[in-house]
Amino acid sequence: MSAHPTNDALLAAQNTAEAMAWDAASRTETITNAVQIFLQAPLTFGGLCLRGHGPARDALIEQISSALPPSLTMRKIPINVDQDRLLGGLDLIATLAAGKRVDAAGILEQAKGGIVIIPMAERMQDDIAAHLAIALDRRDIAVILLDDSVESDEAPPMVLMERIAFHCDCTAMAMPDNIIFTAPAGKVQPSLSDEQRQILTGTAAALGISSLRPLLFAQQAAMAHADIHQRSNVDEDDIAIAATLVLAPRATQLPQIQAEEDHHEPPPDDKQQDNQPEDPQQGDNESKNIEQLPDDMMIDAALAAIPAHMLDHIGHHKQRSGNGPMGRAGQKRKSVQRGRPLSPRPGMPGHGAKLALIDTLRAAAPWQGLRRSASENTVNAAQVHVRKSDLHIKCFEQSSETLTIFAVDASGSSAMSRLAEAKGAVELMLAEAYVKRAQVALIAFRGTESSLLLPPTRSLTRAQRCLGALPGGGGTPLASALIMAHQMALAAQKRGQSPMVAILTDGKANVMLDGTPNRVGAMEESERTAKMLAADNINAIVLDISPRPREEARILATALGARCVPLPRANSGDLVAAIESVGHKDKAA
């Protein structure tokens, strides 16, 4: 073991993180490894997430199900399963028909001790995820989540991802070889030494993993891997595999290899050497230099230092902002599940709809005489005769949550103070967020591109941290910001939120989408993208922040089909008032 034992596992994990550089075969091997370890003790490991659909993944699932020992059942549940079905309860139709209680066992009860496989897990409702999470905590079931998400803002619910050991990316996977299921050897499993535990702990810290669950999973995985290979001791290989399978996919930051004065080149793991295009020492030097630079530069430098695929990868683990269909302001939707109660209507319970019993009985009441005389069951004269047509279900009014997307011009042409005001406005809106249940996001555009400073959030704490050091200066890539806002708004609509875009700019675009400075081209582009937003019926407002109201901002507003509010000396309060005057209801009405 080298002087810095952490580095071996760290490097192994880092190499894994550079997933795109992998060839399909080694990726397939990793996934197969994960599956094999998972099958050793499904309930201990909680489950697997297999991302990216394709024939290889289908084949893998096929193999898992054939490799399962008979004691393990695997059952598929659809994404639209409702709570009643999941938890079980009264079987209404059978109860009505039989005139006595008929219970239906819930899926969680039936699947106890086995594996539940869930397709399209990225679309799962939060309430379903919460029940599954409790079942996972009790070790009642293991889950295999099939994640078909394409966009990076979609992911299976965090509560589940946290509770399952293996997150596998099957997008570029080759057809898997036959998985051989090795039953646990039965004898006492090999254990980790404290030194090995330290390696895992250090690796998790370097990858920015703060939760303890991954550590515990990694420990179990190392032991299971040693067991599969019939070793009585956990060796380096097992630790590296555990770090690769469990820790690397959860990285929230790029590892910064120990920056202390140490010129000992960490010996990379033999197995990983082939797949390791970059010199680890180089990363070491970079991280040392970065630390001395001021904040603003540091963010840019850090972003540049992270390989693009790693960023995508990290994006996957961003906290999924609560997409719960809750809220008060915003478009009203009729819902059969929750919200303020409305009057019941005829319909079949199930799929989340609750039986409105009183109204059902009321509908049945006038017919009792007739039905009783027609009934053959004369034993129980007091029995109430209810038919399917009598059933009423409860309705609720549900407000969708609003999302205000601020696109803030941080270019040189806009005064720096604008940023401070925009930040103030975001914070003011968030301070009221607990009343309105509104979400806020912030895009800043400057230089050659726009960046997402604050992903949709309801949290003041998080916003304050993200907005702390908002940089300014450079050109005005307006079209790029509009495109980003557009995508975010569409994603929000898909989640059932009502988005609204507030653009703070003077309208003077001068950087084109490809990053070239060209005033005329940039203006054309931004007008074109603005029209795309308008075509998708996205609510917007332009806040002209130039000292004197300008034609450019007005043109932008016209293209957006939005109002243009000149705010030469806006303070945060005025901004909020202006945005709220437009409101989210304009287009909804």
Binding site: T44, Q83, L90, T95, L96, G99, K100, Q125, D126, D127, I128, A129, A130, I134, D137, R138, M158, V159, V188, Q189, L192, D194, R197, Q198, L200, T201, G202, A204, S210, S211, L212, R213, P214, L215, L216, Q220, M223, Q319, G322, M326, R338, G339, R340, L357, I358, V384, V386, E427, L428, A431, A433, Y434, V435, T457, R458, S459, L460, T461, R462, Q464
Partner: protein
């Protein structure tokens, strides 16, 4: 997984203390735990519930009536036999419907026999135990409102679906949530007696120790439980002694004044802060086998009793804990 022994939890002293104090004096009204995922929040809560001595109830009573005061619930509750059960621990999942929380009409009886009977919900299940709500900040408003009301009154009153039912529902409310995923409404926060902020243990040794203990438990659950049973037993004894003693703890006039001054200085809204701080300090004194509350007890309890009640200042980013500590230092040196 079998229960994890309460004392085997590494670190997280403030959280453990808050849970203990609430167990001694349930009137404090619950603990709110802020923190990231995977920091052992639910493990600690579950461990405490599992550690506490079993309670005795009227046999077959779904509302956990005490044998010396039976028949106070909608059930027949006629059995003369008492039965011991583990301290109830109910999980309230995100997205739980009102029906499941409050209870609802018993459909079987209603449809098959035309009877109006009540089918108890999670609140009845949690009576005399713990109600644990993970990610309480993502819970829907109308469910939160219901919970608050019941938690404050100790009674579940159902007036819907043609039912009119009331039953006792006294439980220690434990909420957990990550403030980065959404703020909690101040009204809700204020109802929690204590709040703690847990962080994932940073120290390498602690994290390694956690891995070691979890491995140990995984491997030899029985031996592991036995190894910690003594210490857990001591904790139980201490809680039991303190629970008996807490009513007799005296609070000097000076301490009452200190409490009022402190609450005023930090700007804690409402009277609830002072009351809770007083109760917590008494329970803490009892836990340490003291007969009188001292300033030391007050100082120990102040952060967890007050930090969630401070008015939020958008412009002042100083954490609540820091503000309280500053006030403590100014007032009491």
């Amino acid at each position: 997984m079998g229960g994890f022994p309460f004392n085997a939890i590494v670190g997280q002293d403030e959280m453990k203390l808050a849970l203990l104090v609430t167990a001694i004096e349930p009137r404090i009204g619950g603990v709110m735990i802020f923190g990231d995922r995977g920091t052992g929040k639910s493990t600690a809560a579950r461990a405490l519930a599992a550690t506490l001595p079993p309670i005795s109830i009227v046999e077959n009573c779904r509302y956990h009536c005490t044998p010396d005061n039976p028949g106070k619930c909608p059930d027949p509750c006629t059995s003369k036999r008492a039965r011991k059960i583990a301290v109830p621990f109910a999980d309230l999942p995100l997205g739980a419907t009102e029906d499941r929380v409050l209870g609802t009409l018993d459909l079987e009886r209603a449809l098959a026999h035309g009877e109006r009977k009540f089918e108890p919900g999670l609140l009845a299940k949690a009576h005399r135990g713990f109600l644990y709500i993970d990610e309480i900040n993502l819970l829907e408003d109308h469910v939160v409102d219901l919970l608050l009301d019941v938690a404050a009154s100790g009674e579940n009153l159902v007036e819907r679906d043609g039912l009119s039912v009331r039953h006792d529902a006294r439980f220690v409310l434990i909420g957990s949530g990550n403030p980065e995923e959404g703020e909690l409404r101040p009204q809700l926060l204020d109802r929690f007696g204590l709040s703690v902020e847990v962080r994932t243990p940073e120290k390498l040794e602690d994290r390694v120790e956690i891995m070691r203990r979890c491995d140990e438990q995984e491997r030899h659950p029985a031996e592991f439980a036995a190894a910690w049973a003594d210490e857990d037993q001591k904790t139980i004894k201490r809680i039991q002694r303190a629970t008996k003693a807490v009513a007799k703890i005296t609070t000097p006039e000076a301490i009452l004044q200190d409490t009022a001054t402190l609450c005023q200085t930090v700007g804690a809204d409402g009277l609830r802060g002072e009351l809770t701080l007083m109760r917590a300090a008494r329970a803490y004194a009892a836990y340490h086998g003291k007969k009188t509350v001292t300033r030391e007890h007050l100082i120990a309890m102040a952060p967890m009793a007050l930090r969630h009640r401070l008015r939020r200042d958008v412009l002042d980013e100083t954490g609540s804990t820091v503000r309280i500590e500053r006030a403590l230092a100014e007032l009491f040196g």
